[in-house]
Symmetry: C2
Subunit: 263 residues, 2 copies
């Protein structure tokens, strides 16, 4: 496997945008961008100096790497039709197994950047964990080589582990943001500035440097302070959805404590 130089990108969403910008920033050449929606495709293509196509028949056949930065549901639609003579085909999904690519090329793999991306927001790729998998040792080596130019945080992770990682990212990232959003919503309703909560949020996130996070659990549930928990549930009487979350997580913290005999 030669070194990767020329890349064809599929997709123009959050991951496609951030990943392709990082690649171009490191001197890789994204020669072509395929996207079904023309305007978003052309916009990103212009940004990264790629040509645009909306037709699979016109996809370049002599690139070194084909990156499917697509949603999980779009990947099978693409793999059912895409065939590549030479070059590696990878996807960027946390949940789709590498074997989903097996009919597209003889060299396949995964480049999964584990981060939350938003199109409009700048993010430095340097420290983003990039999980790499390849169907052959040479492919894996080439992909690791590429990933290491983007990030100092590259890991070879198999498809099963990647699935678990993605699942835990939902808990620690997506669900955490939702809890922040609940707090923001409640504070807004009572005219209290969200600023007041920010140091707590930052400190809680900073605490992950310690191992054994359950031992750091604070709050009414871990103290089994039923008086406060009842008061909180009462305060949430008009927010049944939030009340359900409060009740479920509090009970689980208590059960977890008893099960593990911790604290």
């Amino acid at each position: 496997m030669d070194q990767i130089k020329h890349i064809v990108l599929f997709g123009a969403g959050n991951v496609a945008t951030h990943l392709s910008k990082a690649l171009v920033g490191k001197g890789f050449s994204v020669v072509q961008l395929f996207n079904r929606t023309e305007d978003t495709g052309k916009r990103l293509a212009r940004l990264i100096g790629a040509s645009y196509t909306g037709s699979l028949q016109k996809v370049e056949q002599d690139a070194d790497l084909y990156i499917l930065a697509l949603s999980d549901t779009a990947i099978p639609e693409m793999t059912s039709r895409l065939r590549v003579r030479r070059g590696i085909v990878v996807h960027t999904s946390g949940s789709v197994g590498m074997e989903a690519l097996q009919h597209t090329a003889s060299q396949t793999g995964v480049l999964y950047p584990l981060q939350t991306f938003h199109k409009g927001k700048r993010i430095s790729f340097d420290r983003i964990p990039v999980c790499v998998e390849g169907n052959l040792p040479a492919v894996e080596k080439a992909l690791v080589g590429l990933a290491e130019q983007l990030s100092s945080n590259v890991h070879v992770i198999n498809s099963e582990q990647r699935q678990i990682l993605h699942l835990t990212a939902v808990f620690a990232g997506n669900f955490t943001n939702y809890l922040y959003a609940i707090a923001e919503d409640l504070l807004l309703q009572y005219n209290i500035p969200f600023e007041l909560l920010k140091p707590l949020i930052r400190q809680t996130a900073a605490n992950i440097r310690h191992a054994g996070l359950f031992s750091l659990q604070t709050g009414p549930a871990i103290r089994e302070d039923t008086a406060i928990m009842d008061k909180h549930l009462e305060l949430l009487e008009d927010h049944k959805a939030y009340q359900e979350i409060y009740d479920l997580i509090s009970n689980q913290i208590i059960q977890h404590k008893h099960r593990n005999g911790k604290l």
Copy 2:
């Protein structure tokens, strides 16, 4: 109301420890520490240069400030017996109303530091939001003056707002830590380093600088990607408790999206 100089502290837990160290660091004199458990009381008293007592009869009567840094359940036990001739009596609780102190003294208030404290861990008080309330303008002024010496982040917050703040701190702090702990637990079971998740956790917490956090929501639920959610629920088949949380929060994110018509 004269300036506050001499302080009597009740309690030797996390808040008592961090708050009294910060006070002593700023030149206040904690003259006496009351704690029912002698060894922990004496240990903290020694650290902050205070005398120790375990008897309410021996509590100093000429201090300027009496701080009840006690659990919410211990506060009523204390207020039923404590009477102070002069000086202000405050508690440090997020959930107990100021009126709980009304029979202890003519000057009462609240000093609620909104942060997660752990005895063994150093924390700088400078930027911790301190929520202050006083039963008289002069009391409030004296307490704000003291709080501003400890922190650059002082807010006058009434008892109802404080209760809501505390409730939101449970969501954004305590529950968030529990979600981190779930992620850590699952990764450990599959031999995947928790290190891989840390940049995502940090980025998610850094995103709180934006307003409208629900609009930043990413992940399978906001995309209504039922295929991934079903796969994740299946992966959690042996972790019924985590499965329940996954299911509940995912459904709420979807409902929230439809209700608000966001994204």
